[in-house]
Amino acid sequence: MAAESLAGVTRRVLAWVLDVAVVAALIFVVVGAVDELLEPTVGVHPDAATLEDVLSADEGRVAVNAVLAAGLSACYFVVPWALVGGSPAQLALRMRVRGSGSDASLTVGRALVRWILLFPPFATVSALAAGVPYIGALAWGIAVVWYLVLLVTTARSDTKQGLHDRLAGSVVLARRPAAAHGGAGVR
């Protein structure tokens, strides 16, 4: 079995960015395909009489898209965390997520909590509050603060457990190259 140590912040942020890019693309394709099959969710009317009328949104479809996107995102993260111990980008970068105090993968419940804490529904809140002055801006301000909190608490933790890890009971480990683990005599 390969030697492991606590995963560093840089590698974890990189995995997060890659995962987000992949899942965003996945959501874009799926929602885009649904939009193509049905009427578009958002109508754009550049020639509208007033700026307020430039957009028209089918609120029912917006809700469906929110559920669809959240479901895809949850499946992308929760299922591999619980089944194989890491999201696709984490596995690619030789990391795994295990339960705190055990060597087993996260339970589905812990994986769900971790997913919710890593991806609070800022966009959903913002979209639902569209038209209410400054709620959207407030949601995105809170989002920035939230990710800063996760980053700082992860970096300052001896066990590299950010706030989300502590609340979900998870630890992220990284495999180290064999040569770095006293392998000099194995040549």
Partner: protein
């Protein structure tokens, strides 16, 4: 039916009753109107079904007067002609547009509005507009955003109807009708290089045609109609100088003169007194599904009283430059933050990061300016872009130059000249607009370049080339008579905007089509005898 001039045997002499040169708005309308008649019609079109750079280059020319930009830019040389990039704006001339204006020489048409009304009604059908009604009462309905509440009738709101985008390229929208017409042959890739006459020089016997590949043939007909646009109509008459040394119809030196445009430039700003005024009436929008836009103009009574011609004022949102100071940038960021609530509607909720919808991306890429307008927030000012009815000026002209094109024809130069009345028109109308806007409490008008001599750097044509074979009953004042027949020629007619003595305040295409229908009726009536 369609045929390809490249496959016509070299040296062939084709024959027809009517030969139409050019298949743009005028040529296609003539062909459609003559379809089904006993007359055999050949339409000679320089291009094919699609744009071709080598053919388009035959339009290259120089500008030697007021800066005009590329001479070939406003026009296209393939089936459908300039309608292939037409914005679709339609409005008929008003009664006053046909009248002579006191103090402005060369104004006044030999025709009057009632002469053209029946043909306008049919032109509306050609471009499939929903109504022949351009009145404000019809278009400023409850379903439309309101026009600006000006308190006088000296500055008025008017509308242009817009032809639906799929109808605008007439070469496409009427291709099947042209293909099915048994008595009409549209010969593609056929460039007319000269018009030949009998010994008297008064009757056209044939036209010489050539393809870019070197094929040459001729077409003989009883009647010929030039329908190649204001620049080419003059060019073809001028180069056809075998029997008439100055060119056909140019016995009084008028061919190519009186080149007209709808000059435009940013003449001022309207700074609204309230944020984000509702200018929807002055942007493209629909009422009952029909597309139109509004604009401001001086009232005809004001024009007549002041000795001016028409002037359209288009209202265009202006958001100014990005702030370059820290405080300005902070205010801009705050404005954007305030807009987050609305732009969040563009993204897919539930996603881990904001992802725009596919349609939003498509729209944003198609029209970046509107995207910027949407994201930018408050309106800083409203640009006032003029479209001037240029006063007739004999010094404004198309001339032949030494250079020749790939077919050996002399190229042309445009010596575009404007006059004092054009400049005075802008100044006086903007001053009047400022007074009316202020009186109505809408805002203030800032006039750019007030009372300055000359023209601003952003002056350009309105892409409406007109007036080089102007219409007049007097051969010393015009190239064609009221029937659009070239003075001194028995069987040569001109269709298109080159016959306009004055350009009117309206866009030219509907008038071009109306005049072409009128000419077709006349040909059918006279040639059937």
């Amino acid at each position: 039916m369609f045929a390809d001039a490249r496959s016509v045997p070299r040296g062939t002499n084709l024959t027809a009753d009517v030969c139409v040169i050019g298949a743009g708005a005028a040529g296609i309308t003539l062909a459609l109107e003559l379809a089904g008649s006993p007359l055999r019609v050949i339409v000679l079109e320089s291009g094919g079904f699609e744009f071709d750079a080598e053919t388009q280059a035959l339009y290259d020319g120089r500008s030697i007067g007021v800066p005009y930009g590329d001479l070939d830019l406003p026009r296209l040389r393939y089936l459908g002609g300039t309608t292939n990039h037409w914005a679709g704006e339609c409005r008929p001339f008003e009664e006053a547009d046909f009248e002579a204006r006191e103090g402005i020489p060369y104004t006044g048409w030999p025709l009057k509005k009632p002469d053209l009304d029946p043909f306008y009604a049919r032109a509306v059908e050609v471009v499939r507009l929903p109504t022949h009604d351009w009145s404000l009462g019809h278009w400023a309905s409850e379903d439309s955003p309101p026009p600006l509440p000006l308190r006088s009738d000296r500055i008025v709101s008017r509308v242009v109807q817009e032809v639906e985008p799929d109808i605008r390229p007439l070469g496409e929208s009427y291709r099947e009708e042209l293909r099915a017409a048994p008595n009409v042959t549209v010969l593609l890739h056929a460039n007319v290089t000269a018009i030949e006459t009998d010994r008297s020089g008064r009757t056209v016997t044939s036209v010489e045609a050539a393809t870019l590949g070197g094929n040459r043939f001729s077409v003989a007909a009883e009647t010929f109609v030039l329908a190649t646009g204001a620049v080419e109509n003059a060019r073809l008459l001028l180069v056809s100088n075998d029997r008439q040394p100055n060119g056909l119809g140019n016995q009084n030196g008028l061919v190519g003169r009186f080149f007209l445009e709808h000059p435009r430039f940013l003449a001022g700003y309207l700074v609204p007194s309230g944020a984000d005024p509702n200018l929807g009436f002055y942007r493209d929008h629909r009422v009952d599904g029909h597309l139109f836009t509004g604009f401001l103009a001086s009232a005809k009574e004001f024009q007549l009283a002041e000795g001016l011609l028409d002037l359209q004022i288009r209202l265009e949102l202006d958001y100014g430059d990005a702030p370059d100071d820290a405080a300005g940038f902070a205010r801009h960021l705050m404005a954007l933050a305030g807009d987050i609530d609305s732009w969040q509607e563009l993204t897919i909720p539930g996603a881990p990061v904001p992802i725009p919808y596919l349609d939003v991306i498509r729209e944003a890429l198609e029209d970046p300016e509107d995207t910027y307008v949407y994201l930018r927030g408050d309106i800083d000012a409203i640009g006032l872009t003029t479209r001037i009815e240029q006063a007739p000026n004999p010094a404004s002209r198309i001339v032949l130059v030494r250079e020749r094109d790939d077919l050996g024809m002399h190229r042309v130069a445009l010596d575009w000249r404007l006059s004092d009345v054009d400049r005075r028109n802008v100044q006086q109308t903007l001053e009047l607009l400022g007074a009316e806007i202020g009186r109505a409490g809408i805002g203030r008008v800032r006039i750019l370049h007030p009372n300055e001599p000359g023209w601003p750097d952003d002056l350009n044509g309105g892409q409406h080339q007109m007036g080089t074979t102007r219409m007049s009953d007097d051969p010393k004042q015009g190239v064609v008579d009221r029937q659009c027949r070239v003075h001194g020629m028995s069987n040569l007619f001109v269709a298109g905007s080159s016959v306009f003595p004055t350009p009117g305040g309206a866009t030219p295409t509907l008038m071009i089509i109306a005049l072409a229908i009128r000419l077709a009726d006349r040909l059918k009536a006279t040639m059937a005898r």
